[in-house]
Subunit: 209 residues, 2 copies
């Protein structure tokens, strides 16, 4: 299973690293961080950069079994970057899985991957999906054949475990979940706009991700 | 709030990046990745490296308000590295918070920080804590005054939200939780040895983290 994570400047770190932690534990997985230009890509919070080993031009689209596109404010320029979108389209034409976390689904949408499909993204950007012909749904992980979109940031962990179970079976996915001790116990129950206090929803809306 | 995340070769990526994603969203937070020697540190799964901006020698211990030590098999050499342990001790002597994720607590233990305290770590390593005078407990996040230890890997997200609430209040912590859409819905309930099927617990035990 050859996995490419498409990164860019001002990505959201956990969007990429949550699924990375899960998928890199799949037996036989070969992961690679790729970008339009190789090198260090700053995350949106600043202190951390992730390193892209190869440029998109160096990665044969047919060599990618699983594509993951994370989110972050820095992916907006990719929405009309035909070089990136063409590469995504080509990868998708032969991939086994085409996935996104958070606003990474906007990139899949701009590439035409989500046309006519149910899809999700970060809750604050859910309406933006319809302009790509997708049917936005407020679910944590949305599976449409080989296209899997996740909600905001931390949802990538749930998405990756879901896909890991599809790829390698539920025993392997559960072993990974146990290995990363993913038995979540957040101190608050404010992780979705349905659950958070309304004034906090308003405060966060528009901050982006 | 000046935050230092102590990294090293073969760290577990999510141990560091989960709390990073939370703590970097604290108003006024200044985060830095530090290491014995600066530069790129490979994560234990290989494809991803994290960059340490400064060496421990360059970081004045009194300048660190919050120390976070992540886990990963690569931290074992630090357990008898007096340069690292001295630095941790000095930081702890003036820190507002001294924290760990996963086997990062072994480093705090080796530095003497956990002596007589309740503490936790990755479930597969919980017994190792007693050799440092700590009282091992199987809890997700353990708070002992300013010393906060988290269970394995993904527990760092819960720990960081807990500490964020202590630092900036519950409204800010909930806004961060909503921003990262941390409304966990894992596809299985196998995230702790109490919940996972016994044969999966045995399979994972000893793989380490």
């Amino acid at each position: 299973m050859r996995i490419a994570i498409l990164i860019f400047d001002k990505l959201t770190a956990l969007d990429a690293v949550g699924p990375y932690e899960v998928l890199s534990r799949l037996p036989g997985a070969r992961l690679e961080f790729v970008a339009k230009e190789p090198g260090l890509k700053a995350t949106d919070s600043g202190a951390l950069s992730l390193h892209a080993q190869r440029s998109l031009a160096e990665v044969e689209p047919g060599d990618v079994d699983l594509l993951l596109v994370p989110g972050g404010e820095g992916n907006r320029p990719m929405l009309d970057d035909e070089e990136v979108l063409d590469w995504v389209r080509q990868v998708h034409s032969t991939s086994e899985w085409t996935t996104s976390v958070c606003t990474g689904s906007l990139v899949l949408g701009a590439a035409g991957v989500l046309d006519g499909l149910r899809a999700t993204t970060h809750w604050a950007f859910i309406d933006a999906l319809s302009r790509f012909g997708a049917r936005p749904v407020s679910e944590r992980v949305v599976i449409e054949g080989k296209v899997v979109t996740a909600a905001g940031v931390s949802a990538g962990i749930d998405m990756a475990l879901t896909v890991a179970a599809e790829i390698a079976g539920p025993d392997v996915a559960q072993a990974i979940q146990l290995g990363i001790e993913y038995d979540p116990q957040p101190p608050f129950d404010a992780g979705s706009p349905q659950k958070a206090p309304p004034e906090i929803v308003e405060f966060v809306r528009g901050q982006g991700s």
